[in-house]
Amino acid sequence: MRRGAVEIRIGLGSCGVASGGEAVRDALVRAGATVKTVGCNGMCYREPLVEVVEADGRVATYANVTPEMARGIVRRHGWQAEPPAPPKHQHRIVLENCGIVDPLNIDDYLARDGYRALTMSPDEVIATISESGLRGRGGAGFPTGRKWALGRAQAGDVKYVICNGDEGDPGAFMDRLVLESDPHRVLEGLAIAAYAIGAAEGYLYIRAEYPLAVHHIRAAIREAAGRGLLGRLHLEVREGAGAFVCGEETALIQSLEGKRGMPKLRPPYPVERGFRGRPTVINNVETLACVPWIIRHGAGAFAALGTKSSRGTKVFALAGKINRGGLIEVPMGITIREVVEDIGGGIKNGRAFKAVQLGGPSGGCIPARLSDTPIDYDALAQTGAIMGSGGLVVLDDRDCMVDIARFFLKFTQAESCGKCTFCRIGTKRMLEILERLCEGKGRPDDLEKLETLADYVGRGSLCGLGQTAPNPVLTTLRYFREEYEAHLRERRCPAGRCPALIRYRVTDNCIGCTLCAQACPVGAIAYRPYEKHEVDDQLCTRCDMCRQACQDDAIEVL
């Protein structure tokens, strides 16, 4: 080991493990290093990621590390290190410890001022949170301070706090990452919430699909309780059983009570009558992770960030057709373009930026021409999308918007709990229309019918799932109507995506290299070296593998 290095960190969150991080860690250990296992720092696109901290505090980052590189890193540190990426636009509050602390070691968290936040009275806590302008990060954006004040004002000595970690929204993974990488932060937030409203019992409802997060949180509760840091608060973890609708607070409570997760009419709000009929405050993981920082640094520091109606920072999960996918934390008010181009590094393979899908199945698609829209609750609502939990999926010109709408409708239709007729049947009828359009079998009045149904479903549903289910359809209809028209009237998919509407043809660019014939899984391209190939339309399943395999751009979509 070269002089000066004090710590070698390797990120082993779910994404680090999936990229082969465990083999790298073993190789580092074999090479004689003492390695600290941390969570993910958000740069998922560069996993496995190894960081070497020097005595003077400088951090050298090694990206996409292979087990073969590990030896070199240990023996000849300084070799091949990249300068750390400039934290352009980013401001880390929720993620401040992610990728730095060992999630299974409470001392690490304590060394970074953990569990020191509580020196005030409950009323002061609530006043501070209210003043900071923190709004619920789960999607709806309800002011957290007001929720806590309501919780505190409730009569009765049995109250509950619940941490909502049922992140079912496809495309969002910030809760997983925070729970995996910095579990004590969430526990501290939950403990502060419990203290503020006067609850002695708390639950963490976490998706079963996140086994590592569940494991880390359970370990963290044991450690924190063992040190007496949680006071008289009793915490318990419950695993979600795979129902998207359980992210809705009344459904979550039903699920905790052992019932089918079906939302209930509000009022009474959970804060009045929730879990077991008692006052219950439910907060999202990210909301709770903001709380210790606000208490430590003061409401003013948090309120100074962001815009007038949306204070502080927001974590986004960047994914899709983007060069640098991962988790970012930015102050509210930043524009979509800054996120996609400056932080995300633009579109993969140099293609054209078409739209971002924001907010998952409840959100919508914002076209590239509106990418100067600032990211705050109200500006986004005006575009028809929502902030949601912060999933931001970038789409390029090869993505069909009708297909995207169909994808989300299929999701909400499958996840509808079935309580409200409009959501149960309306989404089914909407999905049928979208599937018809994608197959080129649309009927002349289908678009009008879609709009009418969208209106009914939105107005006739009890909970957020149904009320927002039409959003992906409405926004794509609003911004990309010409694509719907092309599917409907010309039976054509402009993006070349819908399998029923496209054919592949080999152009004269073909050099007869047989790569496409080798790639074709169904043998629709005959193996004829040095001759122009041909695609057999009858056998072809439109899987696009030939086009991706072709080095000469010789396969076109008709």
Partner: protein, 253 residues
């Protein structure tokens, strides 16, 4: 059984009538006859023709009935997909009887004692049972109802509501292909289709013939920046192409 015999006999009778009629028609040569004689022969021929028409219809109906019932008698054989034979050779035994004949329910007793008997324990109990047996066997659910306050209706309600629970046996390994937004736009459909072909899983089913792999489409695995992603048992693999997706199954071997 009886119906099959009757239909079979009817088929045989119809065929016999038709054969005889055909023989008679070909035996009578066309020859000059007296007018009266000719008239009688023509009338007889027309009568036979209409009778044969009717008999033919009866034959079709009887044959259809016969085939339908006969199919029920013979054991239905599954059409074998390519590549299935060698896998079947490796795993002999009946295809659909992965349930052990007698299930050891002592685990249910233990887990109920540990988690509790109240209604709130319902979902954690089902999760523990599924973790142990890898699906929810009916016998185990019945035992839960006997031991706890939970009613059969409630168990049926929750176990069918939540996506995590499976009421039928699964293959040895579960392959969860992510179909979240990022994976969808990065080609999750192609991954699933290729895996189905690779494992020779017939349409409408989710497990291959050797019951090694059960293929499951899930909403999101939360590794969106590595899309497309799949999870084999607990192991996640990312940045897949159809070819590497098939390779990723080998980690289980």
């Amino acid at each position: 059984m009886m119906k099959t015999l009757i239909a079979g006999a009817l088929v045989a009778l119809c065929v016999a009538i038709l054969v005889v009629d055909y023989a008679m028609a070909t035996r009578q040569p066309f020859a000059a006859r007296p007018a009266a004689e000719q008239k009688r022969v023509t009338a007889a021929r027309l009568a036979r023709k209409s009778r044969d028409n009717a008999v033919a219809w009866v034959l079709i109906a009887a044959a259809a009935t016969f085939l339908t019932f006969a199919k029920g008698l013979v054991k239905p054989e599954k059409p074998s997909a390519p590549g299935e034979q060698d896998r079947q050779a490796k795993a002999p035994g009946p295809l659909r009887s992965a349930t052990p004949p007698e299930l050891d329910l002592s685990f249910v007793d233990q887990v109920v004692a540990k988690i509790g008997r109240g209604k709130e324990a319902g979902i954690p109990l089902l999760q523990a049972i599924q973790k142990h047996y890898r699906y929810l066997p009916d016998e185990a659910l019945r035992r839960v109802c006997e031991l706890t306050e939970i009613t059969p209706a409630e168990i049926a309600g929750t176990s069918s509501f939540y996506g995590q629970f499976r009421r039928s046996p699964v293959g040895e390994h579960i392959v969860r292909v992510c179909h979240g937004t990022a994976c969808h736009v990065s080609g999750a459909r192609q991954i699933t289709e290729e895996l189905r072909r690779y494992l020779a899983i017939p349409d409408g089913e989710d497990t291959d013939a050797a019951r090694m792999f059960t293929l499951d489409e899930v909403a999101c695995l939360g590794c969106c920046s590595l899309a497309p992603v799949l999870m084999v048992d607990g192991h996640t693999a990312g940045k897949l192409t159809p070819a590497t997706a098939c390779d990723s199954l080998k980690v289980t071997a």
